[in-house]
Symmetry: C2
Subunit: 468 residues, 2 copies
């Protein structure tokens, strides 16, 4: 260690490196919605069919990329929970790792366009293996310079055990990918199965352990010893709350800005057209885009408020368990779908049949994004002593209000969905106006919760009095 | 204050709100490079002419947006240095403010497409005025609930003075914009002058004050008193270092990911074309894109390393003065131009004349991005006691190494530029290979600095001995 400092290799906190990695990963995960959203749907086609066409290729690419990138992100979080300080070499290695990760979406695009050709899956697997190797080098480098490690591991006598354990976790995915690469030349479906396994493996293995302990009851002692040690490290502090927040912020931010990008590229009229068609009146030309502006503001408000709900929730979350992390990622995957919702509702503003379906797709996306947020909250409530701030627990002063906040979007989107089925007059304009009005609902919510709480209390005391 | 808590309006730290705002603002500032980069240049055209065409409209839009958004960002930073805690109302007001700011790029696109029509400039000014008004409401809300304010202001007796001072700073820009909106119907050039004034006003006013103190010497006492109070608040802690880092990270991250977006949209071959033109061989079809991959990795390495240099620099920066902030923003504006450099070098891979010009444009962009980083460093050295960590000051153990790190990119890009003038054989491939090799230069740098320092020392001691 003295030699290390003598060599002048400046040791640094990893805070900013991690923030930058989170930003990169979240943007990469989300940005693949753009090819989905930009798919031109012919106005004569029915949306139902086209959506099915989309579903099969581009949405699959988007979801696969999103999930794979989040797996890479989770591995990255684990890795830098072990290595707490960095130096220049680690920073450069991490950047190399990021470079390969940002290349993954391209390999997915190839896979989706040529599902029967082994090259796409081969390329992806090679990238995954390279990422795994770089991360393994980072681990080895970290254990070779122990002052970079987490305090708990630094003082542990069992460093080698930790090293093997972490390497196992990090190399698990790449080994599956290596097998996928090999099999891609013989039997492609097996490769796809292996890749699917990479995504669900962490959850699967945890689920199996959970079942095992439930069925077999107590485990033998030696196993207990090992699992205890890993437990204290991997499960009690499963995901750093800060990094979950940073990753989520990145997704919300990029989704909000993708909207304006579309507006800037599609809705600036051509000077020549303005001269010929609208007699030089820019205002008249722009008034054609009225529905798009409405759609933009409506979508932005939705994204902003979903961020706001997420922010309010995580304000009272003290610790994010693995399941909460998974639910958060599912919620984010639907958030990433919002540019598609925007594109659909702004494109089919006045075409009667597609218009309703576009609104329904928007409602479904919003509903799932918000219901998974709600699920994070209910999951947190199950272990409220460990995961929640006292204010947000049952009986805490913010509990009812938090409940109302989280329930608002699922209710509204479900309501809007049923309205589209009932009312034949429902239009995108009404839908977007609804979206824009919701912030005032949030402001009114606190008053509403207060009044209803007082009502409930008075009704209860009234009924109690009657009983007496 | 007790009433406030009684009402249950939950007071929160603003950390995450600010991080999210930074992410949004940095992405919005940078994303407008996309329309520039996506401008199709006809292969027969000379690049020189097209670049001039671009310069006049789209690059102007990009730069204007970037600078205006950074002005809005700086105002936002100031605002939340005053208001340190937030509640739900402030969070929602801030989101509304963000919504209008993200709409600004669209108004710029309109302005650039229709420079002679008053509507574009009118719309922009209206947005700016609305942003100003929302921020003014935030300030008034903050001063109405003093427990949200900065500690220093909370205990100050002169709260009203602060309130007026901050409102003045925040409303300065919007008032100019309001005038611009009014004049846009009479005399458009004046409106543009007024808008230009919005960007340079903060720097101009500071420059004038600086000149005044230099020329007039000591100021009278009353002025001294006021300026001292504002000084302690506005100039000694001019920009929060954290937020400068967050904003910069956002720009670097979005630039790095815009590259892969281009790759995914342009370089996935059409299945039909592969079948007909390449007899079903995907590999053959992809080998056509070889130069693009090279360009991608080269550009990513450049962006990653410029981030790395920025990161290393700010590790030793303890405080960012206003001038350093300005230089940082100029550096980031050029960083934002890198997707254009990527597009040019990957598009003109094998067209002799344009190829050289594309490389030269890339070199110029890289040079300015890195020389402004270097300028931050030299500016910091001027006041090294206040702005730098002891390690990085003159004689500090990291000083020489930091110097070498920051000088590497200006030297390399300048060298590459002159090579393109001298060698007729210089190609984009060589250029990108150069880019990819540079990380190893960074790793070698430490050794190189060490050797050269030892050499200098031994030469000096040798010459001293001779003198003796």
């Amino acid at each position: 260690r003295a030699l290390e400092l003598e060599l002048g290799s400046s040791t640094q906190t990893s805070h900013r490196l991690l923030a930058y990695s989170d930003a990169l990963l979240s943007i990469i995960a989300t940005v693949m919605i753009l090819p989905v959203a930009h798919t031109k749907i012919h106005p004569d086609q029915k949306l139902g069919e086209s959506v099915q066409q989309l579903l099969l290729t581009k949405i699959a690419v988007y979801l696969m990329t999103f999930l794979i990138v989040t797996v890479a992100w989770a591995a990255h979080v684990r890795l830098f929970q072990v290595i707490e300080l960095i130096d220049d070499v680690l920073a450069l290695l991490n950047l190399a790792c990021m470079m390969i990760i940002t290349f993954l979406p391209y390999t997915f695009s190839l896979m989706a366009s040529f599902p029967g050709v082994p090259f796409g899956i081969f390329l992806f697997s090679v990238c995954a293996v390279v990422i795994g190797l770089i991360q393994a080098v980072i681990v080895l480098y970290g254990f070779y310079h122990p002052h970079l490690l987490n305090q708990q591991i630094q003082v542990s006598e069992n460093q080698n055990f930790y090293k093997r354990h972490i390497l196992k976790i990090i190399l698990r995915g790449p080994i599956l990918c290596f097998l996928a690469a090999v099999f891609s030349f013989f039997f492609i479906p097996l490769s796809y199965v292996l890749l699917g396994l990479v995504i669900i493996f962490p959850h699967l293995s945890r689920f199996i352990t959970w079942c095992k302990t439930k069925i077999l009851g107590q485990r033998n002692e030696e196993e207990e010893y090992h699992s205890l040690e890993t437990f204290s490290f991997y499960l009690s502090e499963p995901l750093s709350k800060e990094r979950v927040e940073a990753f989520s912020d990145g997704v919300y931010a990029i989704v909000a800005t993708l909207l304006i990008l579309d507006i800037c590229e599609d809705n600036v009229p051509d000077p020549r057209e303005v001269r010929e068609k609208f007699h030089g009146s820019l205002l008249e030309a722009l008034s054609e885009y009225g529905p798009n502006y409405l759609a933009y503001f409506g979508s932005f408000v939705t994204i902003g408020l979903l961020w706001f709900v997420h922010h309010s929730l995580f304000l009272y979350v003290t610790k994010a368990t693995r399941l909460m992390g998974l639910l958060n990622i599912l919620s984010l995957a639907f958030i990433g779908g919002l540019p598609l919702a925007y594109q659909l509702t702004s494109e089919f503003a006045e075409k009667s049949h597609n218009e309703i379906e576009a609104i329904q797709v928007s409602c479904v996306i919003t509903f799932f994004a918000s219901i998974f947020q709600f699920a994070i909250w209910t999951t947190a409530l199950l272990h409220e002593r460990e995961t929640l701030h006292p204010f947000a627990r049952y009986g805490g002063k913010e509990h009812a209000f938090m409940f109302a906040k989280l329930a608002l979007y699922p209710c509204v989107s479900l309501g809007a969905f049923f309205l589209t089925c009932l009312l034949s007059e429902f239009s995108t304009e009404i839908f977007h106006l609804m979206q824009i009005v919701i912030p005032f609902a949030f402001l009114a919510l606190r008053i509403f919760v207060r009044i209803s709480l007082t009502l409930i209390k008075s009704v209860m005391s009234l009924s109690r009095r009657k009983v007496v």
